[in-house]
């Protein structure tokens, strides 16, 4: 081949597979293209979800025989996923941006407690929503400032915030469960539009907004850059610190939204609410394919992660599993879910490789 004319060699690019010389070859493009791997991963998550549903059908054929029950149960699962889902969207941004937020559960509790104090409730639903969002945003901002400008490790800063915010929530509520008496707030959880709960719409809205923000805006691009390689981002002129502050503020804001949703569901708030949501949200994001070290992740994956977790919970409830059995099985399912994704990955690659080997 070294004897052929230079031009010809160049044109034919002998050593490279065909699709590489043609920049926009459709073949394999879903695979290597924009977010291709994320999409593939999400397929794996959908498969896991399917398996869970099949398990549900096999274990409770009586319930799954009733179509209206199935529809209702699906909505229940989505409702169950809605609060953690909103928190997870914020968490996904933080993790993609190279951080972690252990304080989300505490922020939800603080915002919930704050907005249900007698004083706040006297301002009506508007005042309650405003105060929950403001508290969430504010605490998130403090997190961000401590991490960005105080140079605290995110793990430590948000752990400290988690402890402090729960303490403050207990102080404010005097450790009591505060009942919400606002019909509008309480109505959020029981309102349906076109047969679908309002909470599910809120989740969908937050997920959609998160998806657009991450994939279609400069904010999202900066997030990936800041998490993927902060030094490179800084040298490319991105204000890494300011962006980090914004990420934690965003997470706090999501917690504020979640606080209203949870308060509405429980028609009350207390300092111990949203227990261990940080773990749920982080786990959902990671199951969904977000890299804990930052720089990679998808909103859809996180959403699927949350839905998988709430489907598991639902599966346990409809089968009446005891708490300890639940826990043991849950551990196993988590491991299996992740392994399934990998097996799939391996076999798909192998399949492609074999395929290519024969066509080349």
């Amino acid at each position: 081949m070294s004897e052929t004319t230079p031009t010809a060699t160049h044109e034919r690019a002998a050593g490279l597979p065909a699709e590489f010389t043609k920049p926009d070859a459709p073949r394999l493009s879903w695979w290597h293209g924009d977010g291709g791997e994320g999409a593939r991963r999400n397929l794996g998550l959908l498969a896991t979800l399917l398996v869970l549903v099949v398990i549900g059908i096999l274990t409770r054929p009586d319930l799954y025989g009733d179509a209206s029950w199935v529809w209702g149960n699906t909505l229940t699962i989505l409702k169950l996923a809605s609060v953690v889902g909103v928190v997870t969207v914020g968490m996904t941004f933080v993790i993609i941006g190279g951080g972690i937020d252990l304080s989300v559960g505490a922020i939800v509790a603080l915002a919930g407690v704050w907005c249900t104090t007698v004083a706040t409730q006297s301002y009506g639903a508007g005042g309650m929503i405003f105060s929950a969002l403001t508290v969430g945003l504010g605490v998130g901002l403090v997190n961000g400032l401590l991490i960005s400008y105080g140079r605290l490790v995110p793990f430590i800063a948000t752990l400290a915030m988690m402890v402090a915010a729960r303490g403050l929530a207990a102080e404010i509520s005097d450790k009591q469960t505060q009942v919400s008496n606002d019909a509008f707030i309480n109505g959020i959880a029981s309102t349906n539009l076109l047969g679908i709960p309002l909470l599910v719409y809120i989740l969908a809205g937050v997920v959609a907004a998160g998806w657009v923000l991450l994939n279609r805006t400069t904010f999202g691009r900066r997030t990936v850059a800041v998490g993927g390689n902060p030094e490179a981002a800084r040298l490319a002129g991105i204000d890494v610190r300011r962006h980090t502050v914004l990420l934690y503020a965003l997470s706090g804001l999501c917690c504020g939204i979640a606080a209203i949703m949870l308060t509405s569901q429980a028609t009350s708030a207390q300092a111990a609410m949203a227990n261990l949501y940080e773990l749920d949200a982080i786990a959902a994001a990671i199951i969904g394919g977000t890299l804990l070290s930052g720089g990679r992740g998808t909103i859809v994956g996180s959403l699927l992660g949350v839905i998988i977790f709430s489907t598991i919970t639902n599966l346990f409830a409809i089968n009446g599993l005891s708490t300890e059995a639940q826990n043991m099985v849950k551990g196993g399912i988590i491991v299996a879910a992740v392994l399934v994704q990998q097996v799939q990955f391996g076999s798909v690659t192998q399949f492609l490789r074999r395929n290519r080997a024969t066509t080349t």
Binding site: G15, F20, H32, T218, R221, G228, L235, A236, G295
Partner: protein, 520 residues
């Protein structure tokens, strides 16, 4: 798609037995055939050079040798026996030591621990620290660097020091073949001489060396025979290193003929307005009292040894570090110190020295890396326009001959030289008025290098100012209009490129070299 006929050159008379023979080795990655039938024969006591463009498969090949990758097919014969090394241990045990292209050190281990990583001298699991330190000191002495303390954390060493440690690791094995993947890329001129001395010592003991470099002068100086790779295939094997004409080598590497020359300087001096003015810039311990100017359309080169503080100077001008004293003005207006954002807004751009840690998002697609500093321009109201972005990146990729050209591939899968092109390409977008280039051609192959030079010259012709740092003196002299020589953090000479020659620069620069224990 069968392999073309190989050009078999007569083997050097001095070389010994064939210790390593590769036949038809193939290695594919998802979507890429990195090795597509490689032939290679290395003899004891020779320096066998591997040549090839960026992405030709050189690093992949040596990783197959080192047991990092398993070949898909083909045969590896080691000392006459078929051998496929299942893992790096197996290769090391067989006597193959490797210096990888990317520094493979552990920052938080000491020099000695890094040198002996994986085969620490030990007794009952306890590291024999004294013994290890002594042996490390020996090896460092042999490498001409007795001043590096074996107990120092590698994190605290400058880049050149790290390269020495990498070499020390290779020498710490009882190797019969030492593979060096672009060892000279981060070394200064005098260091390369030192490296060659060691290589000669090794070959004199009958140890074979595989040497990879994009600098043909080096191949001429140290190499015995050359194997050329192109697109994962051997296009020529066992050429005599010293007297194969450069044109031939380049043709076999690239499939065309490229004149390895610097672009013509414009006839008349660039008379553009002054863009950058640096006054008395100082960072204690790094550089002191540096003053310089760059005009629009002018290329200013900074020569100096590794460790002379040039990178720090560029980073300080760029706002990535905060100056202790002095000022930076851009177009007459002072830049806010310590703010990269302000510098970028003022029209500065920088291609930093360490591409992996300072410049690239390895998991992200190429186009997103190319547009990292400019994606805001393709956005409306904060919403990005991926199509335009990709088209622009595609244009840049084409102009730099990026390989592979698909800009949606993750940067991680690019070869070292192609990654460098992505870094430089980033600042060819947008309206950068002053470009700071730190070692822009490190690891870039001959063909692409010529293209990069053209691109830089073309930028200057458009009125962009360029401040260029390179450890390759000919590059600075050939490309720049004006040259500054730095030594130990200070500018010791400034002159138009035409008024200064390589020897003068080297003399100035060597007067106090970083790695030399005693002054010249």
């Amino acid at each position: 798609m069968t392999a073309g006929p190989l050009v078999e050159a007569p083997a050097d008379a001095v070389a010994g037995e064939v210790v390593l023979r590769l036949t038809d080795v193939v290695k594919t990655f998802p979507g890429v055939r990195a090795l597509d039938g490689v032939q290679l024969a290395v003899r004891a006591g020779e320096v066998h050079c591997l040549l090839g463009q960026n992405g030709a498969g050189k690093s992949t090949l040596i990783k197959v040798l080192a047991g990092v990758h398993r070949p898909d097919s083909g045969e590896v014969e080691w000392c006459g026996e078929p051998a496929g090394f299942a893992n790096p241990q197996a290769a090391m045990r067989a006597g193959i030591a490797t210096i990888y292209q990317e520094l493979d050190l552990v920052e938080d281990l000491s020099v000695a621990e890094n040198a002996f990583l994986g085969h620490e001298p030990r007794r009952f699991g306890f590291v024999r620290r004294g013994h290890m330190a002594r042996r490390t000191r020996q090896i460092l002495g042999r490498l001409g660097h007795p001043e590096i303390p074996p107990g120092r954390l590698v994190r605290h060493l400058p880049a050149a020091g790290k390269q020495i440690v990498s070499m020390a690791r290779a020498l710490s094995h009882e190797a019969r073949l030492i593979v060096m993947d672009e060892p000279s890329a981060v070394l200064a001129h005098d260091e390369v001489g030192n490296l060659f001395r060691i290589i000669r010592e090794l070959t004199a003991q009958g140890i074979a060396v595989i040497y990879i470099s994009h600098r043909l002068e080096e191949i001429r100086e140290i190499g015995d025979r050359v194997t050329v790779l192109k697109d994962g295939r051997t296009t020529a094997a066992d050429l005599p290193a010293r007297d194969t004409p450069t044109r031939d080598l380049v043709a076999r590497m690239t499939g065309r003929t490229i004149e390895y020359v610097f672009p013509q300087r414009p006839a008349d001096e660039p008379a553009g307005a002054e863009l950058l003015r640096v006054d008395g810039l100082t960072r204690a311990g790094e550089f002191a009292d540096v003053s310089l100017t760059v005009r629009a359309g002018e290329i200013v080169g900074i020569a100096g040894l590794v460790g002379s503080g040039r990178s720090e100077l560029l980073e300080t001008i760029y706002g990535a570090r905060r100056a202790h004293a002095g000022s930076v003005r851009m177009g007459g207006r002072a830049l806010r110190p310590g703010s990269v954002g302000a510098a970028v807004r003022a029209g500065l751009g920088m291609a930093p020295e360490e591409r992996k840690s300072q410049a690239l998002l390895l998991g992200e697609p190429i186009y997103r890396n190319v547009t990292l500093a400019t994606f805001g321009r393709y956005a409306r109201l904060g919403f990005t326009d991926v199509g335009r972005e990709r088209a622009e990146a595609d244009r840049i990729a084409a102009s730099l001959e990026l390989r592979p050209r698909d800009v949606r591939r993750p940067v991680r899968t690019l070869s070292g030289g192609n990654q460098q092109k992505v870094v430089v390409g980033r600042w060819l977008l947008g309206d950068t008025r002053l470009l700071l280039l730190d070692e822009p051609t490190r690891g870039v192959d001959v063909g692409a290098r010529a293209e990069l030079y053209q691109v830089i010259r073309a930028l200057a012709a458009r009125g962009v100012g360029v401040l260029l740092v390179s450890s390759e003196v000919p590059e600075v002299l050939g490309l720049a209009d004006r040259v500054l020589v730095m030594r130990e953090g200070r500018v010791v000479r400034e002159a138009p490129a035409g008024d200064i020659d390589e020897n003068t620069v080297l003399d100035l620069v060597m007067a106090g070299s970083l790695m030399e224990g005693t002054p010249a």
